[in-house]
Symmetry: C2
Subunit: 307 residues, 2 copies
């Protein structure tokens, strides 16, 4: 089934220990849609400026990603410039220029409004609500959080959370949202705010999932070389939602497998700058790392042996 994703498209300049990438494709909408497209049809809702490269639109459409919902407006595309520490869990934003994103209100196309699956990238809760109002009868809506909007728009957030099925957030955001330092308490507190499932993303430490069925914990796939962590969370979300949409139904097993496929996709994207690793990625590589991931986390359950 098809997923509609409401997210940013941006040009990023990223500095890591491995080097610098300038004016490369970025923004959560880019990472999410390219990742999700390995599993399911995807349709983007976003805005770009007059300077957005035709070749980058072609990059999406060549992959079968529906770009009819990308609006082009007077002005410049969103720019983000970030610098990572040697500890790749830490980064500084050197500069963020929203540009055309200021005053943009996402409007869905008629067929996008009928989507069964929707992903709302981090945004102002008022805008997330505006998208929810347009969706006619979604089977599943997932949304991501962002520090800024937790601190500044709590009433809006309180209205959005009961209307979504899955919330994705970082460990820091879960703590900020609930005031609970302990992640188990934080996860359970978020469930009381509305979503049926909460995924707490812990970067290189993996993902914690909370639902009525209980907890699920996966480590991140340990990599020998991480070039650029940008987009790992959105790429995770893309693989996760893509797998759910491909299955078309929900169960604890499907949810857990979706978390593993999301983790697999996230493990690839950080191996190179921007979307470069996903661009070359084959389905065979995805399946191979999925099997490696299952083997990595399989505790084998050896029992007592006779002594």
């Amino acid at each position: 089934m098809s997923i509609v994703v409401v997210g940013f498209l941006a040009y990023d300049t990223v500095e890591t220990a491995a080097g610098t990438a300038e004016e490369v494709m970025g923004g959560g909408g880019s990472y999410f849609s390219v990742s999700a497209r390995f599993f399911s049809p995807v349709s983007i809702v976003a805005v770009v400026g007059m300077d957005y490269r035709q070749s980058d639109l072609t990059f999406f459409s060549e992959r079968g990603i529906d770009i009819r919902g990308i609006a082009t407006r007077e002005g410049k595309t969103t720019r983000w410039h970030g610098r990572y520490h040697e500890d790749l869990n830490k980064r500084d934003t050197i500069k963020l220029s929203l540009n055309v994103l200021e005053n943009f209100t996402p409007e869905l196309l008629p067929d996008q409004r009928r989507a069964d699956y929707a992903y709302l990238a981090p945004n102002d809760p008022d805008l997330q609500e505006h998208v929810l109002d347009q969706l006619q009868s979604p089977k599943l809506v997932a949304a991501d959080l962002y520090d800024y909007w937790i601190e500044n728009t709590r009433p809006g957030l309180a209205r959005v959370l009961p209307r979504i099925q899955i919330l994705l957030c970082s460990d820091g955001e879960a703590r900020l949202l609930t005031g609970e330092h302990n992640l188990v308490k934080a996860g359970r507190a978020i469930l009381k705010m509305g979503p049926e499932t909460v995924l707490i993303k812990r970067g290189e430490y993996g993902v914690l999932q909370f639902s009525k069925e209980g907890m699920f914990a996966v480590p991140a796939y340990p990599l020998e070389e991480v070039v650029d962590p940008t987009g790992a969370g959105d790429t995770f979300a893309g693989g996760f939602m893509g797998f759910l949409a491909r299955n078309g139904r929900m169960s604890e097993s499907i949810l857990r497998t979706a978390v593993v496929y999301g983790s697999v996709m996230g493990s690839f994207v950080v191996e190179d700058f921007s979307l470069q690793r996903l661009e070359k990625l084959t389905w065979e590589e995805v399946e191979k790392r999925y099997r490696a991931f299952v083997e990595l986390t399989d505790s084998h359950h050896a029992r007592w042996t006779s002594q």
Copy 2:
């Protein structure tokens, strides 16, 4: 089969957000042996001062832990005073008084020298080597590291590492030992130094295991309340070694299951100060949390369903 453990016995004063515990049983040897005893016979090699409480020796012997190797010397038992931050991954040592531990050289009893399983808690590599020299034909020796001895006694360490089968260390120690920030590279580099298996302990983020068979990653069991993290690593090591000794043979499955049982034991000890949680712990609780742990980490492997 029986395990001989060479480790410290101490009295700890511990301050955490949950309160303060004064002059309570501590030291890696205490945590390790009480944890391992749930699985296998354990024999301690350690030194205490004249002030060590008879009731604490009784605590060990009532659990069937062999205390004949605990030497009592003139002077005071080792004291450690630590204070944890709200982020329980961080702690400060307020005071460490080695006392009788200074100038102590561990000497094994004749039957301890014939042990099949040995665990060397963090110590000066020269002393670890002295213990290795006394072991007649061990099937499996595991050792733990400590920052201080990595920095100050590298030649001794280089002699110890090829003589042990399993190395346990923290992520920081793995980095310090190898000069590699990336843990996959660090884990593989340590394998080249001698041990067949390396377990990198990451506290609340779980354990990474490296061996010729590949990698195994487990998260820590997510707890709603952590009272005192002291001894979690030694308690993990106790459950891990206890399971291995109980099985009496090695395979990748047994190794992985041992890591899970170690994680289970570690998850209990932090629920209260000192050994208080282990004191009350029943085997039924261990098995129940083992099953919960397997369920927590089981990715279920849902496959495509028809759409």
